[in-house]
């Protein structure tokens, strides 16, 4: 590992050993950190959900909910429940301290063979789940609210607007918007391509989407005016905004590319290139803190984790080693990341630039 070894020889003070490691047993598909910063939920390809103690990685309980993969885990914003979906027609709501023997508090019917996505609204009052070509909305207590008409293709991504009042769904042909409290929304951003993931800027001014044709598309949400960034060698599936909505970090190459949305926008500008991984960046995420310098974490096929402060330097400020290809990444409220990989290992790394 050229760059990392360079860092190594420069000074080992850049390396962050994991605070703890946990073997989840199979490919880690999703990780979600508890809003109270006490627990971590981990989903795997074996269909299991593990809940760990964030401080030391101790396994508190495990549930095998699916014969095949679990796709997603999401905490209620108050930390009381976990929403889980996977290769099963139902999404499940589990209590925070449910042991392995308890039945789910709620089972939400996706109406199709698999529930690909399940997300709590940021205000916690509603739930959206996507199965096949349909998105279904539920009140947080499980009462059905709304079911969308079937879309042009399987829903590839859903993302709540940060205020929780509107949901964007992506599929082939564009983005559609849904307001569960007011019924079906007519708003849509059309784009002739297959969209794969979505990311709202925290200030809601922009909606970014990755596309099957190896590009990142974004819209100005007020006007619908759109632009596209092309030329990625791979699909830029992982997208993340910094807390100030000024930087959009994108995967899709071994270099993480950051588009600068401060000022007039990224059109006609060159991206910030964060080039230190030696293989494809698989997941990246900004820490959502408004107070400190924007911190970005990236994991890669090169089995490493890098921390960056992209407004300050284009070199990593710290790094850690993981066991395989980074497959899931989540920040805690404190500046620590939980990383999962394709070998089933989960690890916590604390970001501490002062160390």
């Amino acid at each position: 590992m050229a760059v990392v070894s360079e860092l190594n020889t420069a000074a080992s003070k850049f390396e962050r050993p994991p605070r703890w490691k946990f073997d989840a047993g199979d490919y880690v598909t999703a990780i979600a950190a508890d809003p109270r910063d006490e627990l971590v939920a981990v989903a795997t390809s074996a269909g299991t959900v593990h809940v760990l103690r964030a401080s030391d990685g101790a396994l508190l309980w495990t549930r095998k909910l699916f014969t095949m993969a679990a796709h997603g885990v999401d905490w209620h914003p108050d930390g009381s429940t976990i929403l889980v979906c996977g290769q099963n027609r139902f999404a499940s709501v589990l209590g925070r301290s449910d042991g392995a023997t308890n039945t789910p508090k709620l089972e939400l019917d996706g109406g199709g063979p698999w529930v690909e996505h399940a997300r709590y609204a940021p205000h916690g009052r509603s739930i959206a789940i996507a199965a096949g070509k349909v998105v279904r909305f539920f009140h947080h207590d499980g009462a059905p609210l709304l079911e969308t008409p079937p879309q042009a293709s399987t829903i590839a991504a859903i993302e709540w607007r940060p205020d929780g009042n509107e949901l964007a769904s992506a599929c082939y042909g564009g983005v559609h918007f849904w307001t569960p409290s007011r019924g079906i929304s007519a708003r849509q951003f059309l784009w002739k391509g297959s969209l794969l993931s979505l990311a709202w800027s925290p200030d809601t001014r922009y909606l970014a989407a990755s596309s099957q044709d190896c590009s990142v598309h974004f819209w100005r949400t007020a006007t619908g005016r759109d632009s596209q960034m092309t030329g990625y060698p791979f699909k830029p599936l992982s997208l993340s905004w910094d807390a100030k909505s000024s930087l959009l970090a994108t995967s899709g190459d071994k270099t993480a590319l950051l588009w600068d949305f401060a000022g007039k926008g990224p059109e006609g500008t060159a991206p910030i290139e964060l080039d230190a991984h030696r293989a494809l960046v698989t997941k990246l995420a900004f820490h959502r803190s408004h107070t400190s310098q924007a911190i970005l974490a990236t994991v890669s096929e090169d089995a490493s984790l890098l921390f960056w402060e992209p407004r300050r330097a284009q070199r990593p400020v710290a790094f850690g080693f993981i066991d395989g290809i980074g497959s899931a990444l989540a920040w805690m409220r404190s500046p620590s990341v939980i990383v999962g990989d394709d070998s089933g290992q989960v690890a916590r790394f604390d970001f501490d630039p002062q160390r």
Binding site: A46, M68, A69, T154, S194, Q212, S215, K235, S327
Partner: protein, 454 residues
């Protein structure tokens, strides 16, 4: 697409196509039952009745979409990208994936998915497209359905199924028809989808190093006749008799030949005479005499039963007979006045030009002179750009000037993959390229190919 297949650890994917009722589910159940110990995942677009416990069966709607790469024919299958992606994220990996398409599916987007999606390419290799053909109903389907023709065109293996429901003559006619459309596919005859699994699995249909491993059936010129026989005849009256068969008429051409009969000599004679074998030949009734001059004639065999035509041989010598169809299709016999059947001293099966006006055909090109790499690249890129929509499969092994190794290519529509293969070594370097497509202009392809020679 890796050139060293043995080192390829990617999961093989077999695509099963064929119209509803052709026997896809039967074949699938057979594969699942007989493949003990292999973990197989099945992605089904058509809800069949699969009753095998150990296989994972995933139902999915076919989702075809266009890629925005400026190529109008580049469509891929979103459902496959999603599901294969999810399957790859398991520690407990599968040994094999089978995709069963709907009867009306176009195999193009399925194949293209494996060419253009990097994630899929990294973890999976398309092993082959297996098309099941219902021997009884397919002739009609081929007449009226683009999808049926495309499924034949894309296939690496064509399984002629339900042969118990048709006569041998019907089976032969169907076989030559699909062979004319797709000269490269392996043809497997079956009833109740009983085929050896190694004929449909691990066939390397898209493996570069195995491109044209099977010699296409037509790397000789196409003729308007399927068969020629050379007879040594004494002076006298002979009878050419036929039964009714798949077609109402059979075109024949008879010629006196100055040389002793041999298969080689027949091929030369075919070259001399094929222009006399005409499409709009005069129809002659049973009982009429055949001439040794003039264009070919069409023997009327539309009525049920045997039909005899007279052949007056003026002097002892060699006589060549060319027939539009194979003799066995119409139980053709040449007999003496006394009724004794005569066997030809030499015979040859000729690759026939397609007769059904199937717009899908195969064109094979061959050159013993090395090709100029630059000229070839320019020609093939332009061809794929302009005609990619109509080119279903392209396979070739090329001898490029200045290169010691074989260069192999495999393509689907506009997408083409190429790579350097093993050295020619002792083998005589010969370039061969096969296109399977719709409305192919043989003359134009031949001219373009010739222009690539160094």
């Amino acid at each position: 697409m890796a050139l060293d297949a043995s080192a390829d650890k990617r999961i093989p994917v077999t695509v099963l196509t064929g119209f509803l009722g052709a026997g896809k589910t039967t074949l699938l159940n057979r594969i699942l039952t007989e493949q003990h110990g292999r973990r197989i995942a099945v992605i089904e677009n058509e809800f069949g009745e699969i009753g095998i416990d150990q296989a994972l069966v995933i139902d999915a709607d076919e989702e075809v979409f266009e890629m925005n790469n400026g190529c109008i024919c580049c469509t891929v299958r979103g459902d496959l990208i999603r599901i294969l992606g999810a399957l790859a994220r398991r520690r407990d990996k599968f040994d094999q994936v089978i995709v069963e398409t709907t009867g009306l599916a176009d195999p193009g987007p399925v194949a293209q998915t494996f060419f253009v999606d990097e994630d899929i390419k990294e973890k999976y290799r398309l092993d082959g497209i297996v098309t099941l053909i219902d021997a009884r109903h397919t002739p009609t389907r081929l007449d009226d359905s683009d999808e049926a023709r495309q499924q034949v065109a894309f296939a690496d293996v064509l399984v002629l199924n339900k042969l118990d429901l048709v006569t041998d003559q019907e089976a032969s006619a169907l076989e030559s028809r699909v062979r004319a459309m797709n000269a490269v596919a392996r043809l497997v005859r079956s009833t109740h989808a009983k085929v050896a699994l190694d004929e449909v699995l691990e066939i390397g249909g898209f493996d570069l190093s195995r491109a044209l491993e099977r010699k296409p059936a037509f790397l000789e010129p196409e003729y308007p006749f399927e068969w020629g026989g050379a007879y040594e005849l004494d002076e006298g009256t002979y009878s050419l008799s036929l039964s009714d068969g798949p077609d109402p008429t059979v075109g024949v051409l008879v010629r006196r030949d100055a040389e002793a009969p041999s298969e080689e000599r027949l091929k030369t004679a075919a070259e001399q005479h094929f222009l006399s074998f005409v499409r709009d030949a005069a129809v002659i009734e049973p009982g009429a005499s055949l001439s040794f001059e003039g264009p070919s004639v069409a023997l009327d065999v539309s009525a049920t039963g045997r039909h005899a035509f007279t052949l007056e041989v003026p002097e002892r010598g060699t006589y060549a007979l060319f027939t539009q169809h194979r003799p066995e299709e119409f139980a053709l016999e040449l007999t003496t006045k006394d009724g004794a059947a005569l066997a030809p001293s030499a015979s040859h099966d000729f690759a026939a030009a397609h007769e059904h006006n199937d717009r899908v055909t195969s064109v094979g090109l061959r050159s013993a002179r090395p090709l100029d790499e630059e000229k070839f690249n320019a020609w093939i890129s332009r061809l794929l750009r302009e005609k990619g929509v109509d080119l279903f499969r392209t396979k070739g092994i090329l001898a490029l000037a200045g290169r010691a190794n074989r260069y192999v290519v495999q393509g689907v529509h506009m997408l083409i993959d190429g790579g350097s293969d093993r050295p020619w070594g002792e083998e005589q370097p010969v370039s061969e390229l096969v296109f399977i497509g719709r409305d192919l202009d043989r003359a134009a392809l031949e001219a373009g190919w010739q222009s690539c020679q160094s």
